[in-house]
Symmetry: C3
Subunit: 133 residues, 3 copies
C-alpha cells in the first residue's frame, strides 16, 4: 500500500475544499479494483468529511452550523485562541474511508470528499492511500 | 476484498436502524479470521454510528440530542430544507470500522452498528466490506 | 493482521487519555512498513479522537466544549443517566485510522491519539491492529 500526499491551500479561516478529484486520481493510479481508499489529515485544526457536492449551500450550511455550535472566542484556555478549530476537527474527524469497487471510489451520487479548514488560510496536507487487490 | 450492498428501508424522518446482524453475516461469509470490517453509507443525509443496542432509550436519546443540537428549520440556505440532516451526517460520519477477530466482529458487549437516518423515510444502501486473512 | 488489546484506566468521569505511545509500539511490533493502523474502542460511553498533544489545554477545551454541547443530566430517558456519554461517544467516534509510512504512524507534528473517557473512572480496553506490508 502506497500513501500519496496532496497539498491543499485554503483561502479563508473556515472552508470546505472538495478533494474528490484528487482522491479519485489516486484510486485510479493505485490499480486497485476492490478495496478501501483511506484519506487522512495530519493536522489538528482541520478535518475531513464527506457530504453533498452538488449544491454549494450544503457546505455553507455545514460551516455555519459548526460555527453556531462551536463559536470562535468561546471560554477557552488554549493560548493560541483557536480551540474552536480543534473542537470542530474532533467532531468531523481526521480520516475518511471510501470503498473502492470496480477500480473507482464508490461514492454516492451526491457525495464528495472535503477537507475541512477550521483555522485557515493555510497550506494543508492530505494523505491518500489505497489498499486492496 | 469484496463489497456487499445491504438495503435498509427506514420508517421515519430520523431513526437509528440496527444493522449489526447483517454486518456479522458479511463477516461470516467473508471467511476472514482476522482483519477489518468496513461499513459505508453512500448518502449525504444518513450516517453510521456504533452505540448501545441493549436499551432502545439510548438510540432515542442520541436522536433527541442531535435534534436539539441541530434543529430542523434552522437558518439554512440549501433549498431542499434538509440541511439539518446533512450536518448531522457529517457529525456522526459515513463509515464505521469494526475489528474482525476469530472470524467475528469484535464489537463490545453493548455495542451495535446503526444506520442513522436523518431525512427519511427512505430506502438506503449500506456497503459492507471485509479485509484480512 | 493481528489485533492487540491495550488496557487503560481512566481517573475521572471525563478525560482525554493519550495513547499515542502504545499505538506507535504496536506499529513497530507489527513490522508493517506501509499500511494502516486501526484503533478501536469496544465501549459505548468512551470514544477515540486525534488532536493536539502539545498543550494540555486543548484536551481540556475539547472536554469542556463537549460538556457545554451535551450537558450531563439533560432530558434523557436512558435509565442509567449517562446518555450524555453515549452521545459524546457517537460524536467523536469509536475508531481512528492512522497511516503507517516507513514503519511508523504518520501522525502530524502536533497530533496525538486519545481515548475519550465520557463516563469514568473505569478500566477501558482499546484494540490496535496494523494492516499492510
Amino acid at each position: 500500500m502506497k500513501w500519496t500526499q496532496i497539498d491543499v491551500s485554503t483561502g479563508s479561516r473556515t472552508q470546505l475544499v472538495e478533494i474528490t478529484g484528487a482522491v479519485a486520481d489516486e484510486v485510479g493510479k493505485s490499480g486497485v479494483a476492490s478495496g478501501t481508499c483511506h484519506v487522512y489529515v495530519p493536522h489538528t485544526t482541520a478535518g475531513l468529511t464527506i457530504n453533498e457536492n452538488a449544491d454549494p449551500d450544503v457546505a455553507r450550511d455545514i460551516l455555519a452550523d459548526l460555527a453556531r455550535l462551536v463559536p470562535a472566542g468561546g471560554d477557552y484556555r488554549h493560548a493560541e485562541g483557536n480551540s474552536d478549530a480543534h473542537v470542530k476537527a474532533t467532531l468531523v474527524g481526521f480520516s475518511a474511508m471510501v470503498p473502492v469497487i470496480d477500480g473507482r471510489p464508490a461514492l454516492g451520487t451526491w457525495q464528495g470528499v472535503f477537507l475541512c479548514e477550521f483555522d485557515g488560510p493555510r497550506r494543508r496536507r492530505v494523505l491518500v492511500g489505497v489498499a486492496g487487490e
